[in-house]
Symmetry: C2
Subunit: 234 residues, 2 copies
């Protein structure tokens, strides 16, 4: 239980920091490990819907606990320790999402919010039981990898559907998890992880992508730039 003694609020910051580091483009010198991606104070504040001073304040306190490395005016990044804590929460989150959907039939567009409510209070023991009950899953319902018990995060495809060329067929790897309207729509039209899709055509600059979904004889579905940028494929 890496997480013990860390408040819900602090965990939210660590998780946000983790997500923002992942989202940020790989830092310049490809492969230069140790070159931690720094995340700006305002990015964190925005993500958590909190004021910038609040973020500064929390970053300092996390830095004092060696969970975050923070330099004034230069942003923050997770330390090894902070990353371990963040990954533990991510594991809780994704296991809960999976469990809620698989075992309790929670609609996938609601799973994210429900999991968020529970993730910081999940014990290792219950975590392990859910993991076993689900058959040791490797992906959550949105296709995100579930970190292992010891904090390893399997690498996943980073190619977005938006970047796929016309006529090419690809497999949906993951969809975003937190925009429930979009998720409801994706479920409706069948754009789910594991499904094969083909780009049929695309509208004018920045316009929608028309995507044909495997096993769906209907007309191709229109997907906005925003959403297709957030869908990873391989």
């Amino acid at each position: 239980m890496v997480v013990t003694g860390t408040s819900r609020a602090a965990l939210a910051y660590l998780k946000a920091l983790y997500a923002l580091e992942e989202e940020s483009p790989r830092s310049g010198a490809r492969g230069r490990l140790g070159t931690a991606r720094r995340v700006t104070t305002s990015a964190i504040a925005e993500r958590l819907a909190v004021s910038a001073p609040s973020a500064t304040n929390m970053l300092k306190r996390l830095a004092a606990r060696d969970l975050v490395s923070y330099e004034p005016y230069k942003g923050a990044s997770l330390t090894r320790k902070g990353r371990a804590v963040a990954l533990e929460i991510v594991r809780h989150h994704r296991l809960l999402e999976t469990y809620l959907v698989e075992a309790l039939g929670v609609p996938w567009e609601e799973a994210h919010a429900e999991a968020e409510a529970l993730e910081s209070n999940l014990s290792e023991s219950v975590e392990e039981r859910m993991f076993a009950a689900l058959g040791r899953p490797r992906f959550d319902p949105h296709g995100h990898s579930i970190p292992t018990r010891n904090g390893a995060m399997p690498k996943t495809s980073r190619r977005s559907l938006w970047d796929v060329s016309d006529g090419e067929a690809v497999l949906v790897a993951q969809v975003p998890d937190s925009h429930s309207d979009a998720l409801r729509y994706l479920a409706e039209v069948g754009v789910l992880p594991g499904v094969r899709v083909t780009i049929e055509s695309r509208g004018p600059v920045g316009g929608p992508l028309f995507v044909r979904v495997e096993d769906n004889e209907d007309a191709p579905v229109a997907l906005s730039k925003e959403i297709t940028e957030a869908i990873w494929v391989h």
Copy 2:
């Protein structure tokens, strides 16, 4: 979701107050409804392992929100509104205990603590799904009644095993839920809700009760006064 906007800490006080009111002997004039049982500040403080001033402080704040009726030096009691909130948490707690034990195989002596960690973050939607998945249970694993969705609390037996006379056979209704050592022992010797037991004999004043357990050919089990007082039967 009666509970929204009430902090984890505040919920703990309401729940403690509820439990203490239940435990207190029915107030004098049998049946005089409206005669709310008042709970002392120190009883609450002790139950929550908190200082007396902390309890005073919280009681005042709960009173300001009309969840508790509080008069200085005279203790506190739940208002109708406060009782509804408390019952909702009790429902969450007991459903979670049941779910953890039944669906995830959590040992019953651990269920209480695990449920306590999760109860204040359980949504109505997940609550309802667990309830359905369990087949709308009416009792938790320790034999406590689960309040209904609309906050009705079924009445239960209040006769304690300690008060049963020698030779009499009774059915265990409920056991205490929070002392895990005792629970582990009870499970081992088979003293579970629904099991029939007979008082074989009893030790000297305040000494242990020797109880024969249905379907258990072994020697009668010795149970302390404390534990048997906390076991209800019918």
